[in-house]
């Protein structure tokens, strides 16, 4: 027998009910099932089962986020060099800086989030749900790089407790927990979540007169603004800052940690659409919705930006690919997914066009549609039942 298995079997009784560490049962179980697929056999119903489980689904989702994660490491460093004129920084300096910025974000979200997950599983006597692996991976990718860690910790705790556990855990929540954390940050600490200085490592500190770590002289390059494309949402504004469709698409621009690169996001999208982990219907209809409203706005004169720019600016693509498609909080019916996705895309661009004070509409568009998803499903199902009731009898 596998020696690791032997060890696990040896210490298992300690963690079982009545054992010395029985109160840590859920924790032990989480680690055991992480390493070994349990020996549980089917008891009721079907005697055979497909080998896919929620752990597999979740790990694929995490894998899909990895390109955006890697790109963000590089981009954090790259934006920093632009801001402080660090022309002598090579690739490894840039990546090193990115890692030093991003690792603390991940440590905070995973430690705080998983601690709460484990504790609540412990209290309820449940197994630990895997859902947080994805939430915890997404969350650092949608916040500004310089977000104070304590704020991130508070927001994570809020999202996991109020957003998820009070409803009963993964699968029962109404809103996407990662977005809920971001919304919490946005409304509680707006000064750290918006403005031109929030999106590039060290900029906030330098603007206040301090010298940020690893920034050379600590002097911001003359004329550097750090403003995101969304904050300059006109063709002139974009051109003034040197943004064109190509760098918006590649993603070497300021923005929330992982949302900037359309290429990296699309790589992830291919994986989750192919494996069926996320709904392509939501993605397609969301993009259609965004394009349509962007086009109507363009024609109607609300903006001079062609509609396809809307897709690569801000968090549109990241939101529609990774968060609008969250299977728990999106519409459940196939027909409902078309409607839901379309409205997410449409509302996002609508907010962008008509609310310059709050340029990024994606977060609220998804949270709003999360709220309405059950309603969409309700009407889809009612209609289907009515159609079924009208169906003719074929036998004579």
């Amino acid at each position: 027998m596998n020696p690791l298995r032997k060890l696990v079997d040896q210490i298992k009784p300690t963690f079982e009910k009545g054992g010395k560490l029985g109160f840590l049962h859920s924790t032990f179980d989480a680690f055991e099932t992480f390493m070994f697929v349990p020996n549980t056999v089917t008891r009721k119903g079907s005697h055979i089962r497909d080998c896919v489980d929620i752990k597999r689904v979740m790990i694929i989702m995490v894998l899909a986020l990895v390109p955006a994660f890697f790109f963000s490491i590089w981009n954090i460093g790259y934006q920093h060099t632009l801001a402080f004129g660090l022309k002598d920084w090579g690739f490894w300096n840039i990546v090193g800086y990115g890692l030093m910025k991003i690792i603390p974000l991940y440590l905070v979200t995973y430690i705080v989030g998983l601690a709460i997950e484990f504790a609540s599983a412990q209290i309820k006597g449940h197994e630990v749900n895997e859902g947080y692996l994805v939430t915890g991976f997404i969350l650092p990718l949608i916040v500004p790089v310089d977000v104070p860690l304590w704020m991130l910790a508070v927001a994570t705790a809020f999202a996991v407790i109020i957003g998820k556990e009070v409803f009963g855990g993964t699968g029962m929540n109404i809103w996407n927990p990662a977005l809920l954390a971001r919304a919490f940050l946005f409304f509680s600490y707006p000064s750290s979540m918006s403005g031109d200085y929030a999106w590039i490592g060290g900029l906030q500190k330098a603007s206040e007169g301090g010298i940020p770590w690893a920034s050379g002289s600590g002097v911001i390059v003359d004329g550097f603004s750090g403003a995101t494309p969304l904050a300059n949402a006109s063709m002139q504004g974009l051109a003034d800052h040197g943004y064109n469709f190509w760098n918006l698409f590649v993603g070497n621009i300021p923005g929330a940690v992982g949302e900037t690169s359309a290429i990296a996001i699309l790589l992830g999208a291919i994986l989750i659409v192919w494996t069926g982990v996320a709904s392509w219907k939501i993605m397609v209809s969301g993009i259609a919705g965004g394009l349509l409203v962007g086009w109507v706005g363009f024609i109607g004169g609300a903006t001079d930006i062609p509609c396809w720019y809307q897709l690569v600016m801000g968090g549109f693509l990241f939101g529609i690919v990774f968060m609008a498609t969250d299977p728990v909080t999106s519409a459940q019916t196939e027909c409902g997914k078309w409607v839901y996705g379309f409205l997410v895309g449409a509302i996002c661009v609508l907010v962008r066009l008509f609310n310059p004070g709050y340029a990024e509409g994606m977060m609220l568009a998804i949270l709003l549609m999360n709220t309405f998803a059950p309603l969409i499903d309700h009407y889809v199902i009612e209609a289907s039942i009515k159609r079924q009731a009208r169906k003719k009898v074929k036998i004579a």
Binding site: R5, P38, N129
Partner: protein
């Protein structure tokens, strides 16, 4: 109106152990059981005592609530034991066989000359009445009802299911007689569904309405067929019956005897030589030792198919309507980093998160491992892909869990039995016991209706 129906959704599970199309042995053994346990909501009443001698067709049990419904012996011999479980629940009546298969003579009859009442009477007295399953709810049909139609599926798509063409090829004459008899009991006669482009010997049947289905499992489930031919709404009653039980009914009228002998597929990944045998319902699984050899402890013995069959164990027996025994190894071992392995070639998954789709020809040696822990409903569109019915299975399951009768009816509890949703359970990444949930839902409906 077209009689061809194409179902796009479904799944044929590639499990190894299909029974070879040969049937060389007759297995009955010295002990055969008559049991009421497999019938939903049935409380049986005992009609014999230990030491009584019985013939094929002698009443052994009756339905306590509807005493005209009898369960008769499939063999001749003497009653050896009455086995009871907790709270004296009647588990089974064991009959010591004498090997003669002597039968009560119910008298040969000309089916075409019989009235509906006479058919009904003959089926009740001979113990063949429990062959009729009522939809909704899957209980034994009520003799006072007149169903709108009687549905028969002439093909089976369940994993490793017995090949109905093979089992029925010598029985067409009897099945025709059975059809002629039972069609008098329903308003619209008998409806038979065939596999499209199949070469079923039953296509010769007359006096039936014929429909042709195309698609993967569960296209062969009679419940799915009814959903497409005649959706069941509140207040509707239809019946279903299997071709094999029709053959038994035909034999009753043509020979005057109860003869439940049938071909049964002994299949499954743990079957040493998967093949067919001739046997009767109630045969003890211990008689099939040849098929699983010495692995008695580690093999699960199932009467029925791998999706919806009942675990009966070594001492258990074949169900009244079953024509399949499935043998499968218990998967009670740990698999290190199973879910985290990039490639897991020995396991089957419909999900593209694994790579089974690369090897569509491969048959898998499946076991009973659950392959994960139970979770809440997370992934939303997996059930729909394998259910060729216009239903919302997650909503139906949630209504059942909540015990909300109104919603259960709305979401289609009248149209389904456990077996129709079995594939949803197979593919569920959250490992939710859908069939058990539906079963509890149906029980609740029955309780509320009573």
């Amino acid at each position: 109106m077209s009689n061809n129906i194409r179902l796009k959704k479904g799944l044929d599970i590639p499990v190894a152990g299909k029974a070879a199309l040969q049937c060389e042995r007759t297995v009955i053994g010295d002990l055969v059981a008559v049991s009421g346990c497999e019938f939903r909501a049935l409380v049986p009443r005992l009609l014999v005592k230990e030491g009584d001698s019985v013939l094929c067709g002698t009443p052994v049990l009756a339905d306590k609530k509807r005493p005209e419904i009898l369960f008769t012996s499939p063999v001749s011999g003497t009653v050896k034991a009455v086995v009871r479980g907790e709270k004296r629940k009647l588990i089974e009546v064991q009959i010591q066989t004498d090997g003669r298969q002597a039968a009560i003579d119910f008298g040969k009859k000309d089916v075409n000359a019989l009235s509906a009442e006479e058919v009904k009477d003959a089926l009740l007295k001979s113990g063949l009445w429990p062959s009729f399953v009522q939809r909704p709810y899957g209980i034994i049909a009520h003799p006072d009802d007149t169903p709108d139609a009687i549905f028969v599926s002439a093909f089976s798509t369940a994993p490793l299911a017995a090949d109905i063409d093979f089992c029925c090829k010598d029985e067409v004459k009897f099945i025709q007689a059975g059809v002629d008899a039972v069609r008098k009991l329903s308003a619209k006669g008998v409806v038979v569904s065939y596999r499209k482009d199949g070469k079923s010997p039953l296509e010769k049947l007359e006096n039936v309405q014929k429909f042709y289905f195309e698609g993967k499992h569960p296209a062969g489930n009679v419940g799915v067929q009814i959903h497409h031919l005649r959706p069941i709404r509140k207040g509707d009653v239809v019946w279903t019956i299997t071709p094999m039980m029709l053959a038994a009914i035909g034999k009753l009228f043509l020979t005057g005897k109860v003869d439940l002998m049938r071909k049964v597929a002994v299949s499954g990944p743990a079957a040493l030589y998967p093949a067919y045998i001739n046997t009767v319902p109630g045969v003890k699984m211990s008689q099939l030792q040849d098929f699983f050899g010495t692995q008695t402890q580690s093999v699960r013995i199932i009467s029925g198919d791998l999706l919806s069959g009942k675990t009966v164990g070594f001492e258990g027996s074949l169900g009244f309507k079953d024509n399949q025994v499935s043998l499968i190894l218990e998967g009670n071992d740990y698999e290190m980093f199973g879910w985290a392995k990039p490639i897991r070639m020995s396991q089957f998954s419909t999900s593209k998160t694994y790579f089974s789709w690369l090897t569509p020809w491969k048959k898998y040696e499946m076991d009973t491992n659950l392959h994960g822990g139970e979770r809440a409903f997370v992934v939303s569109d997996v059930y729909g892909k394998v259910l060729p019915m216009n239903l919302f299975p997650v909503y139906l399951a949630k209504a059942c869990l909540a015990g909300d009768i109104e919603k259960m009816e709305k979401y289609g509890i009248l149209e389904v039995l456990e077996e129709d949703l079995a594939l949803c359970e197979f593919v569920c990444p959250s490992k939710i016991d859908i069939q058990a949930i539906i079963s509890d839902g149906i029980d609740l409906m029955l309780k509320e209706m009573a």
